[in-house]
């Protein structure tokens, strides 16, 4: 009995050592001998379509490296990254909502790719706002993956039915409110059609759709360092007041107050909404027969701006295949991928130098969205996620009090936002 046990344990030791030798030997071999390398990639559902197209095109044109993409629900993305990082199980490559990138780089989740980026011939054309947020202390960690800009969509069919000019979208937030109200009054009787809609219980939705109106009016929402909140200033509260009026007059869908985010873009494609802020990435996903106008988000009295959102992508600092991962990443921003994959599907390009291409000319709306990249903003804050996106964060409480509740609480809640930004 004892001898048998000894035999078994010896076998175990042998197996372990041979496995260790095996992996050591494999590392020294040539990449070809190992067959195709599979690198893992994570992305969030909000920009899933774009990531999937890129991965598919890359996998079909590359034999030695294959990318395995995992899509994670948008709301769970941050926790999943945190859990994986804590367990040292990050994928080789992961995309991130661009506004979380400063926090991730400061936590050391991304590998430094400054030298690799420097060798790209088109490095100056990479979307500037994304590159800025991916830079920490002069080192670069991410490149742009997808660009998602907030713009106003209006439903031309509903405009026509309501007696509005279907070719003239709103030029100011006040016009936006008037047109939405007209739609509601003319078409909203049976409760199916509504003037407008917004994600009223979703912090990320508020920043994406309301802040551009502040910027368009020349205001700011934070100081440039992202440590002081300016959301109690008139530039912001004026915007809140207009939206509050729309909700109080029942121009918004009745569930706007409860909308937590997952479904806020789902009502417009059904033809139920007259005019509302939408992410530009959804333009390619709209029903083909729907006539949609697209116009920049404006301030109460004019101007135009956008929230330059979307994803940046980098190589995780724990990846064992950084070179293969870079092969994929550098390909995603190449002329070929940008034009034949992104532009072809009406997506905003990760490179400003390719804004004029053979596909963009076909759709003036795409040209307009591409032109907004230079006018829009991507706010920078190290503590962005826990302050503005987290449903328990202070921003959502402020926005909800401002739109649905007691607006006199704004100064006090704004102080809480500043406190959260400085943590």
């Amino acid at each position: 009995m004892r001898r048998r046990l000894a035999g078994i344990s010896l076998l175990g030791v042998l197996a372990l050592t041979s496995a260790a030798c095996g992996s050591g030997g494999g590392g020294g071999g040539t990449p070809e001998a190992e067959g195709p390398v599979t690198i893992t990639m994570w992305t969030r559902a909000a920009t899933q379509a774009q990531s999937e197209r890129l991965v598919e095109a890359y996998n079909s044109s590359h034999k030695n490296i294959q990318v395995k993409l995992t899509v994670i629900p948008t709301d769970n993305y941050q926790p999943r990254i945190a859990a994986a990082a804590g367990a040292k199980q990050l994928p080789d490559v992961f995309a991130s909502d661009v506004i979380f990138v400063p926090n991730y780089t400061s936590q050391g989740l991304f590998a430094d790719i400054t030298d690799k980026i420097a060798k790209l011939p088109f490095k100056d054309g990479l979307a500037p706002s994304h590159m800025k947020l991916g830079t920490l202390d002069g080192h670069q960690y991410t490149i742009p993956h997808t660009l998602d800009l907030s713009v106003w969509f209006w439903n031309k069919d509903l405009y026509e039915k309501a007696g509005l000019d279907p070719e003239k979208g709103p030029k100011t937030l006040k016009e936006f409110a008037q047109q939405a109200t007209t739609i509601q009054e003319k078409l909203g009787k049976d409760g199916k059609v509504h003037g407008t809609f917004f994600g009223g219980n979703c912090g990320g939705c508020y920043v994406f759709t309301f802040w551009p109106s502040v910027w368009a009016a020349g205001g700011q929402v934070m100081n440039p360092e992202g440590t002081t909140s300016l959301n109690d200033q008139p530039a912001m509260t004026d915007v809140f007041k207009i939206w509050r009026g729309l909700y109080e007059n029942k121009v918004t869908g009745p569930t706007a107050k409860e909308e937590q985010g997952p479904t806020w873009t789902g009502f417009f494609p059904k033809g139920e909404i007259g005019v509302m802020p939408m992410p530009s990435t959804t333009l390619g996903l709209m029903p083909k027969d729907m006539k949609i106008g697209v116009t920049p988000i404006a301030g109460p009295d004019g101007g135009e701006s956008t929230f330059v959102g979307g994803d940046s992508v980098g190589i995780s600092s724990t990846s064992e295949h950084p070179d293969q991962a870079w092969d994929f990443l550098s390909w995603t921003v190449s002329d070929d991928a940008q034009i034949e994959v992104m532009a072809k599907n009406k997506d905003v390009l990760a490179r400003t130098d390719l804004a004029d291409n053979k596909y963009s000319a076909e759709d003036p709306r795409v040209v307009m969205i591409n032109s907004l990249v230079a006018k829009g903003q991507t706010p920078y804050a190290l503590r962005f996620g826990q302050t503005f996106n987290d449903p328990q964060g202070p921003w959502l409480r402020l926005a909800r009090e401002a739109v649905f509740g007691d607006a006199s609480k704004i100064p006090q809640l704004n102080a809480e936002i500043t406190k959260s930004l400085q943590q």
Binding site: Q78, P79, A82, A83, A85, G86, K88, N103, Q107, G108, L109, N201, G253, P254, T255, K257, E258, Q260, T263, F267, S317, T318, G385, Q386, N389, D390, P391, Q392, G393, P394, R397, R400, G405, E416, Q423
Partner: protein, 303 residues
Amino acid sequence: MTLTITRSRRPAHSAPSARWRSRKVQGWLYAAPTAVIVGVLFIAPLVLVVWMSLNRWPLLGPATFNAPDNYLKIADNPLFLDAVLFTLKYTAITTVLLSAVALGLAMLVQDRRPGIGFFRTAFFLPGAVGFAAAGLLFYGMLNNDFGPIDPMLQALGITSEPVKWIGTPNMALFSTIALVLWRFAGFNMLILLTGLQAIPTEVYEAARSDGANRWQIFTKITLPLLRPTLALMLILSVTGSLLAFDQFFVFTNGGPDNSTVSMVMVVYRAAFFRFDLGGAAAISVVLLVALVGLNTVMMRRLR
């Protein structure tokens, strides 16, 4: 000493101490798998959590000792106190309702009658649904945009417009408790059912022949004899409710306006939204100590 005991028990064997030792080793071997599992899955994480709570613990990279900062910081957390009060309120309401409903169901299906198996199964079945899945199910059913419950209630003339099931703090709490009752009443019914069936029928017969009415039988016979089982159910319910997470995370997302943030959600937020793993560990340790204390008191009282 061991020698004398074994010798007195087994005087016939020539080498009793060797045999006894081998039996001891065997005992350890039998216990080893469980011991390893408990050690790896319970003791080790517990020690790690306590250690984490004494350190600044980044996602990647080395930790730095900073005790007792993580514990002092808890007082600054604006969500913590509200979450404690909310969780206690939720626990009290849930436990009372759950006990009442489970006991009612158990007494309904207590006797063997034709077709009783169907009802027992039907009451227990929601317990077979994963809790997160149940949360999503309720979210979908009660959703004001596409859920089927509102149109049904309106068609029956019970309501005239969509009910904001998770739109106000009280409604969100009420809807969540409905979800928890639906999901757990059957399971608790099963626990109480075993207790009910362990009460000898002779006791009931004796009570009836003494002229006791139904209410007297319930209060003087059933409840006292059910006490140990009720105690078990109470402890399970209180512990489960104090650690509530899934229902609020999936169903209400802590809303509206942070009105349904439970203590475990505060831990989750600290760890996974603020990446403050040390702070999250400190809250967990406080929660653990409170739970152990509460359970000790409950065990003493209910024994």
